[in-house]
Symmetry: D3
Subunit: 240 residues, 6 copies
């Protein structure tokens, strides 16, 4: 029995609020239960130096947590003067995942930066970030087409992320904080709507895990991701 | 005529949502029109080194803006590796103001940190921060008394802040961004509910201002602050 | 009775030494009693990026304190690797004040940087900095005209700054350190020679202050600033 | 046909040189073909603050690349003043993997830091680092037992890491740089000698990968890791 | 013929003003011609960690240049966020030299920090710093004895520094900036009053220098240092 | 009697391995006894800004120590976020020395960066760095000529460095760590193959040293440098 009463397969209630702030080209508040992340997509002209003149665009991401998004206050990275390794790892993961959803060659020399800022944390902030960022990115790309910046929409398809893990010997989907902190194995999976893998990151926090456990986790992830992509499309009024 | 149709004296619609996030001892989302700031108060044991053994508490504050809180994206301070002078100036101001609302001698050896993070900016982020932080602080102090950490409540009275300025030759109250960026004179005033001054910071952006203009601005500020304190009390169900 | 035997209205003895160092276009040592600040104005071609092509100049300022300018040694900011919030706040204030003394549109695409370095501190280092920087700026602008860099002098008029405050219930002018550290209210005022306000920053360190106290402080400030501007002109051999 | 003439399953020639430097408690140069990493294990008394008094040890790792380990020179992180996100990600991965090889409860209040410095890079620096670090760690633990610092050896079993990937549609094992930079999918796998998974990190650089491709990659990884663990044991004169 | 009309052996006019600022235990403005350095010695209880419990004191130094001490403005190190290699090198040299003048075993567990801040630069700022710092150190040690912090004075004897160099083929003493920037060889020599060497740092900027040239430079340095030590003693009213 | 059984004049066994890594234009592992430094020379187009358009090249150097190159682990500079003063001092010294070996006017607008990374330290890391870097630089320049980047070789002649010092009253050459840490005087000398001086840096760690001692040290240095240059040439198959 999970703390929330969920079954092993069930993801938390998902809420996706578009146009959450008024300035960003795409602005989405995503909630996975008590985990709340604001995802703002910004479109800017130009590309990083290593891409100049290659006639393609770029997508990058930054991640942050408000100091009191967590149960006890964590030090503000801006005050400390540097981002932690965890933050860097997560924002690199978000960016890689988003790039898999877009045909960069069709994006033109634009850079889209998606800022994922955790307002409240209860496990799964990186998977919520990716899943919300995909919707913000969709809105931003749509706006670019509307404004005539792009001729065709370079969006290739939805992607979403979910965490799965083994807690007390049981494989479960979409861990909340109390589950996450007791997991023997913790895995984040990012997939396309066709069920193909974009990224898989599994870690044995305690005992190593077997090949069979990996397969079980992957199967749970696939189900969870399906549910999330359904919610993404619902928020965008797209038939699934 | 102001862009919003307000009179010179009118403040923007104020919304104060308490318990906005679940972890902080005090958590308030304050909205001054389109300016939205999340103010989280955290209570921690201990005081900074310079106060050790003096049998008193401390109140400090940190301020941040989400990168896309603004019209065009501003660089993330955590990524840049340092806080701007503007950020430092604002968080020092917030902290000084809040300390004026509390009897630090009655706070015991606790530190309260109020994080003010701007979700959306449309002028007046520092005055909204102070006004919202006061409510978060109130809730945090109340919680300390409830938990038995404090015998009596060290809160001395409400404080609030408002910006006033001269735009196109007219003195107006609670400037939104478009007004602020055209102001000849820009002033932030922080007052107690008794109408006494805690802080006044006035700057001539263009032409210097006269003694009479200063008095007119102060009078507008007093009215605006009264309105804000009324909203603070309403949110806390305290009769004004 | 003040420690120095001054009346409430009296500023400390002011000394202004021009051409204090040989390299800077304007170089002034200003002394407000035991507070000594070296103000060096540097003229450089070009303007910051945000002003490029707008056919106007820029004035900026930096502030520092020698580590042993103070009673006990303060850590060297260069060694620590960052400037404190107090330093940033002060240098932003100096720069804003100086820009009010100059018609930037007449300055051409030049940047003037005024470095204010405190050699010895005894209260009022920011007001001495502004008052001395104004003279250094005057000299630098004059030199630009002499060298033919500018056709007409963009200097609009003298500005000066003074601190005022309430100590033991009495409003006094130009606080020295021992007074400053006991002030209930501390205010810095910057005015033009016509008595108009450029900046006012008042802070209740202890009890909030009343509207009447504010007026009393402003009146003291006006007198103090008059005395300082007289000294600025005397140093420059300009009739007041 | 692979550039080196290897079959899809083959790892590069592995060389493990123990006692490569004289100061470290464990010092191993590991070579995966042209990739050469020096792994130095340092034993120090004490544990990080968050573990104090818990009667257990800690294992951590740091990773670096000499500036000209790569084909074109990369900027020295020490000169730049910060470690890249890639570096942080890798050193966190190495440390997590090594902790899976040791019973921290039997380690006592000691910290072992393994420095992995890449002397020459040709793909797979993180997997070579982990595989070499495991041997350096083994030597360091053995030395602790020899010196009487530990009663029993907390080493739980060998671990090793290998990269696998899909290049030109074919799954291959232990990618060298030229293969790595053309991989559609890139995966790092860390396993125990029993074939259980410690960590799996797979990324679709181009097209997403299927479930079947994942299984094929995992199978290749298992074979590669077996070969590496055989070399680890040979270097330590342990029968496999 | 030197720009100043000096002979090869002559040092510039030396001025040493003691008690230049009021807070420091030793405060000296030293002038070598147009080079002006303020040397403030601060006495603090305690020693750095690596000396704790060894019953001896420590002497350290910091060096800085005001941004406009130089002909064109140099960036403020505090603003840049780090000290240059040149600054670090110089302050390490000053500190080593001063430690040679004091019996650290007699100093007790005190640390003396000497801040050398260049007010105006015209060549030889490091040699002026050392020579002035020695006098500030003398005053600080004397004050410690006066206050009863030390039973006997740990000062071992005067030290001074001078630059020598080869310009246009001629060996000269105490180079001013214009000479320094044209020197083929540049050497800084620090000696005791007995003529023994504390430090010698010679660099061939252009052509390498011969053994004979080295001897000639050393001989010039000895003469220059004698002159400086005479001025140090005169400033302190000590018979030479 | 020296710990190694060497006579006062003897340098440690020197080993120079060229082509130690495969990417760098010049790559040399130099060993002075147990001190091992990897020196990689990188050729890049372009020069630093202060040299642009002057039709000459530039040579610079960076220095680092692997954390466990030393007897106890030293903190990684990249992790700490800054290079120590010692590191900066050494890399500036290496670069100055190397520039003396090359006619920069013949180098064209290229920059050569020599990275000296200490794999294992046992005293004399800076002198080994310079001596090894000279060979790496030679190889890099040779490669530039081969590739047709340069018409003639700008190499002017070999340079080498050695440390000399006074230990227990005796002058000795090429100190290993245990000698270095007990030296009363410590001196680094860099010379050309003609026996001319490029740099001399002597420091009295304890007692000041006399003119005669300086001469004795210089004579030892000359002998040591001769031996090193012989080895440099042998490694390059150049007749000495």
């Amino acid at each position: 029995m999970r703390p929330s009463g969920r079954t092993a397969e069930q993801v938390r209630p998902i809420n996706i609020t578009r146009h959450y702030t008024k300035h960003a080209e795409g602005s989405v508040l995503i909630e996975f239960g008590d985990t709340k992340v604001l995802c703002n997509a910004t479109v800017e002209e130009g590309v990083p130096r290593f891409l100049k003149g290659q006639n393609q665009g770029w997508i990058t991401a930054e991640y942050g947590m408000l100091p009191r998004a967590t149960n006890s206050r964590t030090q503000r990275e801006a005050a400390k003067g540097k981002q932690t390794g965890r933050t860097m790892e997560i924002q690199r993961l978000i960016a890689r995942s988003l790039r898999a959803a877009v045909d960069l060659g069709l994006l033109g020399e634009y850079t889209i930066t998606v800022d994922c800022d955790v307002i409240q944390a209860d496990g799964g902030t990186r998977t919520a970030s990716i899943s919300g960022a995909c919707v913000a990115l969709y809105d931003a790309l749509h706006a670019m087409v509307e404004k005539g910046l792009l001729k065709s929409n370079p969006f290739k398809g939805f992607i979403a992320a979910v965490s799965v893990g083994i807690v007390d010997g049981n494989a479960i989907c979409d861990l909340e904080y109390i589950e996450d902190s007791n997991a023997q194995t913790d895995m984040n999976v990012i997939m396309t709507e066709e069920g193909k893998l974009i990224e898989i990151q599994g870690t044995a926090e305690g005992e190593p895990f077997s090949h069979d456990e990996l397969l079980e986790l992957l199967s749970l992830a696939k189900g969870g991701i399906n549910s999330i992509i359904k919610e993404q499309k619902k928020a965008l009024n797209i038939a699934s």
